[in-house]
Symmetry: none
Subunit: 167 residues, 2 copies
DNA sequence: AAACATTGCGCAATTG
DNA sequence: ACAATTGCGCAATGTT
């Protein structure tokens, strides 16, 4: 099933109003430039962005007012019509179902990402520790090498002495 | 807790485009500052989104109280409507300004997070490489130690032989 | 082509 | 009051 309540956290979901963006949106999607912003050029349309709109969006959370969206005559009609047709997709069941599924997928994906990040962090720490240990090990070995070399040179000296003496 | 609620059925509410942010925006008019903000501040305009979408219309929840602003497009003259508004903030100017600022902060914060993550990842890789190098180094040193020990033992042997011989 | 996964974004609630 | 974070849903994309 789908959602539904969930224990604790959850919010409501399903029919909640929250939507913000809605229609037209085009918030992102477009080629984003590296810096992230801009570019809608491709399409010609302009965002309208500025749109402005304020709040409308509001979700009902208790407070909110919402305002009417319509109150305005404007272009309205020009925008997407839809009357309530739910045929294709948009305001109803099918749409809602898709949204709900996506929301779930999103949550899942984000949890995954979060875990991944955490893991990477841990790994970095672990590697750092390991690194430290290895450096210590190297230090020890280096000293050992030095000591051995020293002994060896002593040996050679003695050998030479012996040589000299003996000869 | 969240709440939510609105009667169950309703769904949406407004739907409009929100975008503002400046990002894509600027359709025409305003100067947008580099950092992205601007605009509305100057005018204070409000909603009007164009959007709207109709369909839902109906659900008008009775509750919506407010709406206010007048829906009008005009330039509003700059200012907020006045009318009833619950004092604090909600639908206009002030609100919009706050939102805009927050949106900017959010983008900033996320960029930062992204960079941080990337950095951690790089660091992990780097540490891994370093680790590998250190292990090789250890291997070399270990061999060296072995070799030296071997030489040393040879030395001692010779010394002994010499000893024996000489004696 | 339908389902799931990612990702940028704005909103709102929190936190400092 | 205000910036920084964080959880969340939306929608465009990407992947299967």
């Amino acid at each position: 099933m789908s959602i539904s309540d969930s224990p604790a956290s959850s919010i409501c979901i399903a029919q909640m109003p929250q939507m913000d963006t809605g229609l037209y949106s085009q918030p992102m999607a477009f080629p984003k430039t590296p810096d992230g912003r801009s570019m809608e050029q491709m399409m010609g349309f302009v965002p309208y962005s500025s749109c402005l709109t304020p709040s409308s969006t509001e979700r009902a959370q208790q407070n909110q007012q919402d305002f009417s969206q319509f109150l305005l005559p404007p272009p309205a009609s020009t925008l997407r019509p839809m009357g309530q047709k739910r045929g294709p997709s948009k305001d109803s069941v099918e749409y809602r179902l898709r949204r709900e599924r996506n929301n779930i997928a999103v949550r899942k994906s984000r949890d995954k990402a979060r875990r991944r990040i955490q893991l990477t962090q841990q790994r970095a720490l672990q590697l750092q520790d390991e690194n430290h240990s290895l450096q210590l090990h190297i230090q020890r070995l280096s000293h050992e090498v030095d000591a051995l070399r020293h002994y060896l040179s002593q040996c050679h000296l003695q050998a030479k002495e012996q040589d000299t003496t003996g000869d």
